[in-house]
C-alpha cells in the first residue's frame, strides 16, 4: 500500500501537457471526472451548510432567510464558560490520542505475535476470532461493557474473589476511569481488525532477509527488531498520519452510551456537544460552529504531522 501511494504521488517529469496527450487519455480523464464530480457534490457542496454558523438559523426561514450574525456563535462557543466547550475539546483530544496510541500499539504487537505463530491451523482461527468484535455495533459492545462492569458483573466478581477489593466498584461513577474504559473498549473491538493491515505488510517482507539473518545467527527477537519492525515502518507512518486527522473523531457512540451525569465532565466529546446544542437545543448555528472548529483543528493536525514527517524524512501523505 505504501509503495503504490509513493508511485502515484511522484510526478512523471518526462511527460508534458499536450492536447494530444489529453486526447489519448480521454477515457481515463472522463472516469476521473466522475470521481471529481462526486467529490464536488458530496464533499464540497455540503460545505455551503457552514453558512449556518454565521446566521441565526431557523428551519422555517432557511439559510437565506435567517438573520446574519457573523462570528457571534464562535464568540459564544469560546467565551461562555458554562457551556464548557474547551472542556469538551480537551476530552475529545485526550480520548482520541489515547485511542490512537493504544490501538496502534496493540495492533502492531498483535500482528507481530501472530506472525510468529507458524502453523496456519492455529494462526488463522486466532486471526478470525480476533477481528470478529469489529463487526459488532457499539450498542452491543457498550451493553456488554455495562453489564461486565456493573456491581454484579464479572469484573467485580473476579476482583472480589481475588480479594483486590471487598466492595463492588461502580466503575461508571468515577470520572478517572472513564477514558481508560473507552480506550479499552476500542482496543477490544478494533485490535484484530487493525492488525490485518500490519500482517499484510509483514507478509510482503522478503523472506530471504529472514534467512540471511538466521545464517548470521539472529534469534527471534533480533529478527523482529531488525527486520519486521523496519519492514512495517512505512505502513505504520502512513496509517499514523491518516489517523492523526481522525483524533478529534474520538467517538460518539461509546461516550454517548456509557456516559452519565457523574462522568459528564470527562465523557462529552465534540460530537455529543454538537448533538446536544445543535439538535437537542435546536441551535443549529452553534452546532455547526463547533463542527467547523473541529474540522479546522483536524486539518491543522494533519498538516503539522505531515510537515514533521517530511522533515524527518519518513513516508508522508502529501
Amino acid at each position: 500500500m505504501a509503495k503504490s501511494a509513493a508511485t502515484i504521488s511522484a510526478p512523471r517529469k518526462d511527460r508534458k501537457f499536450t492536447w494530444k496527450e489529453v486526447k489519448r487519455q480521454k477515457v481515463l480523464l472522463i472516469i476521473a471526472l466522475i470521481v471529481f464530480l462526486y467529490g464536488i457534490l458530496f464533499y464540497y457542496l455540503p460545505l455551503f451548510g457552514w453558512a449556518t454558523a454565521f446566521i441565526q438559523y431557523k428551519p422555517k426561514f432557511g439559510i437565506f432567510g435567517s438573520s446574519f450574525i457573523g462570528f457571534d456563535k464562535f464568540k459564544f462557543l469560546f467565551t461562555n464558560e458554562s457551556i464548557g466547550f474547551w472542556r469538551v475539546m480537551r476530552n475529545t483530544f485526550c480520548m482520541g490520542a489515547l485511542n490512537l496510541v493504544t490501538s496502534t500499539f496493540m495492533a502492531v504487537v498483535f500482528a507481530i505475535l501472530l506472525n510468529e505463530i507458524k502453523p496456519n491451523l492455529i494462526k488463522k482461527p486466532i486471526q478470525t476470532v480476533s477481528y470478529l468484535p469489529h463487526f459488532l455495533s457499539w450498542i452491543v459492545v457498550t451493553g456488554i461493557l455495562h453489564s461486565a462492569l456493573s456491581s454484579t458483573g464479572i469484573v467485580n466478581e473476579v476482583l472480589m474473589a481475588l480479594g483486590v477489593t471487598d466492595q463492588a466498584i461502580n466503575f461508571f461513577a468515577f470520572p478517572e476511569y472513564f477514558w481508560g474504559i473507552v480506550a479499552f473498549a476500542n482496543v477490544w473491538k478494533e485490535t484484530g481488525w487493525n492488525a490485518i493491515i500490519y500482517l499484510a505488510a509483514i507478509t510482503s517482507i522478503d523472506p530471504t532477509l529472514y534467512e540471511a539473518a538466521s545464517i548470521d545467527g539472529a534469534g527471534r527477537w533480533a529478527k523482529i527488531k531488525y527486520i519486521t519492525l523496519p519492514g512495517i515502518k512505512p505502513t505504520f507512518m502512513i496509517l499514523l498520519l491518516i489517523n492523526v486527522g481522525n483524533v478529534l473523531n474520538a467517538g460518539f457512540e461509546v461516550q454517548y452510551l456509557l456516559g452519565n451525569g457523574l462522568v459528564k465532565k470527562v465523557s462529552e466529546t465534540i460530537d455529543i456537544f454538537v448533538l446536544k446544542w445543535g439538535i437537542s437545543q435546536n441551535d443549529f448555528s452553534l452546532g455547526t460552529a463547533a463542527g467547523i472548529f473541529k474540522s479546522a483543528i483536524s486539518i491543522l493536525l494533519i498538516v503539522l504531522c505531515n510537515a514533521w514527517a517530511k522533515h524527518a524524512g519518513e513516508e508522508r501523505l502529501f
Binding site: I30, I34, L37, L41, K58, L262, I279, Q281, N282
Partner: protein, 589 residues
C-alpha cells in the same frame, strides 16, 4: 464505439447523481398515507352517546372473523412518533385491525429508543420528513419549523368535541404566539364523576411487605420512611428466594432525574409545579433548588448513602436497568411518578406472583415536618399545554387524521375497545351492565406477548378518566371499583385496610384544593429555548443539577459538597430563569 458507450454511461451516472440530490419535492408521495381521502364512514359519524358500547354487536366480533366480511371502510395507514419509550405492538394486532375495519384508520406508533426526546425531535426536523402524528416534548421546535398543521379550523368543525374536551380557557392555553392551536393534550381529562383510584403522581413509594412487617406505622417524614427501611433491611437482608433486598434506589437518567431532583418542592408542601414553587399569597416565583427543605432532603439522602442504604448504581443506571431492578421485587422504596414505573412493574409482579409476596408499592406524601399538609396528589385535571398530539405537514390527509382524534375522544365504543378490550374476550358484562374481568382475563391482559398481539390502546390519543358515557362504568379498567379491588393482591388489600384507605389517593392523603390557573408551571418552562437568557439558564441549570446532585448525595462531606454545588448552580444565572417565570406568573395576577 466503446468510448462512446463509456461517455454515455458517464453522463447517465452524473445525471443520476444530480437528480438524486435534487429530490425533495415529492415528499408526500412517499408517506404511506397518500391514499385518496376516504369518505367519512357512516359508522364513525354516529354520535357515540347514542350507541352504548355494550350493545353494539360489531365490536364484539373477534378480530379473526372481521376481515373476512367485505370491507366497508377504506383503511388509511398513519404513522405516529411519540418521544417516550414504549412497546411497539405487532403489525397484525387484533384490536388495531378491528379499529381499522370500523373507523378506517390504523396508526403505526413508534417510540423513543436510546435518544432523548429533544434529540429525536431535532433529528426529525433536520430531515424534514415527519410522521403523520407526533407527540413530542419539544413542540415549540416543531412549530418554529412550520412542521405542524394548525388545528383551529378542524376543532371548530367538531363543536361537540371542542366543548367537551376543553373549556375555552383551556383551549386558549394551547394557543401559540401566532394565535393558532397546534396540538391537543390527550391526558388528564375526567368525564363525569371522577373515579380516580390511583395516585398518578409522584411520591415516596414503599413496598407493602415492609409496612406489614413493621406493623403499618405512621410515616410522615423522611426520617420515618428511612427508619422503617433500615429496620426492615437489618431484619430481612434477602427475599424468600435469597435475592438480596435493596433499600432505596434513585432513577437519574436524562429527563427522568426528577426522581432525584424535585422532591424538595413536595417536602415543603407545594404541588407539582415542576420547575419552580409558586407562592400563592405573594404571587411570586420561588426556587426550590436552593430552599432549606431541598437541602434537608439531600442531606438525608447523603446520610443514607453513607450508611449504604442507597443503591450505589443509582446515578449510573439506565431507565431499562431501573425497571428491571424494580421488576425483581427486591427494591423496597424510591421516589417516582406512578406512570413512570407502575404500569410495567405491576404487570410483572402479577405474572411472577410477586404481588402476593407484598412487593407492590404504596405512596407516602412525606413532608419536611410532621403534620404539614402535603400536595403530592393532583386532584384537578392537569392540563399540560406543553405537549400533546399534533398532525404534521407531512400528513397527506389531515381531515381524516383529525377525525380519528375526535373519534378516539367521542366514541365510547372505540374508547372501550382501546382500554377494556373485546367484550367476551377481555371483559364480561354483569346483569347491571357493569364491566368486569375474570382472573384469567386479568392475567392475560397483563401478559406482554398478549399485549403486543391483541391490545391496542393508542395511548397517546385523547382518552378519558372518570365515568363512561353509559353512566356506570369507568373509562379506564383500573378505575372500575370492582376491578381495582379484585386486581389487588392480598397484602395490598390488608395494607389499605390498615391505613383506612380505600385507594391510592386516600393513602397519600393530600389536601384537596384547586390549583391556580397557572398550574403546572413546568408546562411553560418545558417550552423555553436557549435563545432567551432565562431559557439558556434553564438548560444550564439542568446540566449542572444533573451532574452535581449525584455528587452531593455521594459526597463524603455533605456541607462541602452542597457548597460546591451551590457555586456551580449560581454560575448558571438561575435568576434569569426565575425572572422569566415570574413574568409568566404575572399574567395571571
Amino acid at each position: 464505439m466503446k468510448k462512446l458507450v463509456a461517455l454515455l454511461l458517464v453522463l447517465a451516472m452524473a445525471i443520476a447523481c444530480l437528480t438524486a440530490c435534487g429530490k425533495s419535492e415529492d415528499k408526500p408521495a412517499e408517506t404511506p398515507a397518500a391514499e385518496t381521502p376516504a369518505k367519512e364512514t357512516p359508522a364513525a359519524e354516529t354520535p357515540a352517546a347514542e350507541t352504548p358500547a355494550a350493545e353494539t354487536p360489531a365490536a364484539e366480533t373477534p378480530a379473526a372473523e372481521a376481515p373476512a366480511a367485505e370491507e366497508p371502510v377504506e383503511v388509511t395507514n398513519f404513522t405516529m412518533f411519540i418521544t417516550m419509550p414504549g412497546s411497539e405492538i405487532n403489525s397484525d394486532n387484533e384490536i388495531a385491525e378491528m379499529i381499522a375495519q370500523k373507523w378506517g384508520v390504523k396508526v403505526k406508533e413508534t417510540w423513543l429508543t436510546g435518544q432523548t426526546a429533544s434529540e429525536a425531535t431535532g433529528t426529525l426536523l433536520a430531515s424534514g420528513q415527519y410522521p403523520d402524528f407526533i407527540d413530542s416534548d419539544e413542540m415549540n421546535m416543531l412549530v418554529e419549523a412550520d412542521a405542524l398543521v394548525a388545528l383551529d379550523d378542524y376543532i371548530d368543525q367538531y363543536p361537540e368535541f371542542r366543548d367537551e374536551w376543553f373549556t375555552p380557557e383551556e383551549w386558549d392555553k394551547f394557543r401559540q404566539p401566532d394565535g393558532h392551536i397546534y396540538w391537543i393534550n390527550p391526558f388528564g381529562n375526567t368525564m363525569g364523576k371522577s373515579k380516580a383510584t390511583t395516585h398518578n403522581d409522584e411520591a415516596f413509594w414503599l413496598q407493602v411487605r415492609v409496612l406489614e412487617w413493621a406493623g403499618y406505622p405512621q410515616i410522615e417524614t423522611m426520617d420515618d420512611y428511612f427508619d422503617v427501611i433500615e429496620r426492615y433491611m437489618a431484619a430481612n437482608p434477602t427475599m424468600d428466594d435469597g435475592t438480596p433486598n435493596m433499600a432505596y434506589t434513585i432513577l437519574c437518567e436524562d429527563w427522568r432525574y426528577f426522581c432525584l431532583e424535585n422532591a424538595g418542592q413536595f417536602l415543603a408542601g407545594y404541588p407539582n409545579d415542576g420547575s419552580v414553587i409558586v407562592n400563592k399569597s405573594t404571587m411570586t416565583i420561588e426556587d426550590y433548588n436552593t430552599s432549606a427543605d431541598t437541602k434537608a432532603y439531600f442531606k438525608k439522602l447523603n446520610e443514607e448513602y453513607q450508611k449504604g442504604f442507597v443503591d450505589p448504581e443509582s446515578f449510573t443506571q439506565t431507565y431499562d436497568e431501573y425497571i428491571a431492578k424494580l421488576s425483581t421485587g427486591r427494591v423496597l422504596g424510591m421516589v417516582d411518578q406512578w406512570w413512570d414505573f407502575a404500569y410495567t412493574v405491576n404487570d410483572v409482579f402479577k405474572t411472577q406472583g410477586l404481588d402476593a409476596k407484598g412487593c407492590n408499592y404504596v405512596p407516602f406524601g412525606l413532608t419536611t415536618e410532621k403534620g404539614m399538609v402535603n400536595r403530592w396528589h393532583t386532584y384537578d385535571d392537569t392540563v399540560n399545554q406543553a405537549s400533546g398530539i399534533a398532525i404534521t405537514t407531512s400528513c397527506a390527509d389531515p381531515d381524516k387524521a383529525f377525525k380519528f382524534i375526535v373519534d378516539c375522544t367521542m366514541d365510547q365504543e372505540l374508547h372501550d375497545l382501546r382500554f377494556w378490550g373485546v367484550k367476551g374476550v377481555d371483559y364480561e358484562v354483569d346483569a347491571d351492565g357493569l364491566y368486569y374481568r375474570t382472573d384469567a382475563q386479568r392475567a392475560q391482559w397483563a401478559d406482554t406477548s398478549y399485549q403486543a398481539a391483541h391490545r391496542c390502546q393508542y395511548s397517546y390519543f385523547p382518552q378519558w378518566h372518570g365515568t363512561s358515557r353509559d353512566g356506570k362504568n369507568a373509562n379506564k379498567p383500573e378505575e372500575q371499583p370492582s376491578e381495582f379491588q379484585n386486581d389487588m393482591a392480598e397484602p395490598l388489600v390488608k395494607c389499605f385496610a390498615a391505613y383506612g384507605a380505600g385507594n391510592y389517593p386516600d393513602m397519600i392523603g393530600s389536601i384537596q384544593e384547586t390549583n391556580g390557573p397557572w398550574f403546572p408551571m413546568y408546562s411553560y418552562s418545558n417550552n423555553f429555548t436557549t435563545e432567551t437568557p432565562g431559557g439558556l439558564a434553564w438548560a444550564l441549570m439542568g446540566e449542572t443539577k444533573h451532574e452535581w446532585l449525584p455528587k452531593v448525595v455521594m459526597a463524603a462531606d455533605f456541607e462541602q459538597g452542597w457548597a460546591d454545588y451551590m457555586n456551580a448552580y449560581n454560575a448558571c444565572n438561575p435568576q434569569d430563569f426565575l425572572a422569566e417565570m415570574q413574568e409568566i406568573l404575572d399574567t395571571f395576577k
